[in-house]
Subunit: 225 residues, 2 copies
Amino acid sequence: MGHPPFAVTVDLVVLTLTGDELCALVVRRGISPYRGEWALPGGFVREDEDLPDAARRELAEETGLPPGTVHIEQLAGYGAPDRDPRMRVVTIAYLALAPDLPLPRAGSDAAEARWTPVRSLRAERLAFDHDRILADGLERARAKLEYSPLATAFCAPEFTVAELRRVYELVWDTRLDPRNFHRKVTGADGLLEPTGRTTTRDGGRPAQLYRRGGAELLYPPMLRS
Amino acid sequence: MGHPPFAVTVDLVVLTLTGDELCALVVRRGISPYRGEWALPGGFVREDEDLPDAARRELAEETGLPPGTVHIEQLAGYGAPDRDPRMRVVTIAYLALAPDLPLPRAGSDAAEARWTPVRSLRAERLAFDHDRILADGLERARAKLEYSPLATAFCAPEFTVAELRRVYELVWDTRLDPRNFHRKVTGADGLLEPTGRTTTRDGGRPAQLYRRGGAELLYPPMLRS
DNA sequence: CCTCTTATCGTCAGCATGACGATATTCGGT
DNA sequence: ACCGAATATCGTCATGCTGACGATAAGAGG
């Protein structure tokens, strides 16, 4: 009773908010299979590398970001026998959320990389089973906004309540009442930590600047209903 | 730039309620490494097998259950370089929830199998990184009871409100007010479907029997707080 | 019948929520 | 200096969900 050999990769669903759209990072594949088509960034796990390390390495290679700026968590494993025509490949997908970023740079085996609005990705096709992986990542992100402080991962280190609200509105594709939202997030325990400073970058009356608080759980949760 | 060979396995966190305890299925390993020690059931993914199929196959091998009785979902992937001394192994863990079951039978490479109360597993050590996997599975189960109808997976096809409440009490290790619980679950949309029949198997006044409804999401959620 | 046990319904105060009015504080223009 | 326009922040109020707990219903066993 042996064990067949597999290749193991990590793939990344990297989300950010550029302008007024929720965007995912996609790369144009430079090598076969699916050469020339769009896919999620990712690559093989190395000989002595743990899975989260591989995911962070690929993320750094594709985005050139200083680590620590980006929230990253495991999404799920995918291993259908025919998902890669070359051989049996199991991929561990990771979900990464980042604030508005410098343009991504092309990685080693990616000819080109760009941010694509998720709205337009419903129509486009990604290589392999990456459509499914992206959909799972989006659903995870949307769900976790409800009961975790994950929305702050889309914000710069210091942010206003309005910027946080914009995160919810763009990710959920909905509109939220500014007054009720303000009451809720400022009342949530450990979500926001006031800096005492203010900004007028959104125009109008100056807004308080906050940092993320230490809470791991958002209580009470923000329900979509 | 090659890709190192991996072995891929599935491991199972199988939970059930026996008597008045939350229990997990563990097997005594019949082969090296960790021969003779307790571990989660699992095994290698076969050449042409999808991951969920492998998980269901292992589950059937270890429990001998008719498939369809058991809820199963993917938990997470684990792939630390040193998690198996033999070679590089990535495992995809699955979480399975079952109603009270016939005794498990030993599988091919498991000398012995038994239900162990999770309370006593905090002290015991499982092989590989299975302590961590079990802890993750427990946390997932506890969390999903809050916002999904998952608790019904621990119940027989027809069950009473009190039996459902016992699921929550044992998994969360807490006590819930029977009257408020009853109001909440009978009011939740699509959670319970009355059968019209009753039972007195718990003594006292006969209780309504319900089947699971079609809801995928529990609204409003049951919060632990 | 009486008691014990469990199921189920009601009541009530407190908190969170959604809808929305009111006020504060800046900017840009005149 | 004054006037909108824009945004932030606070307040109000009716509604619904929740937790605490009383009351009643319906069976089993003496």
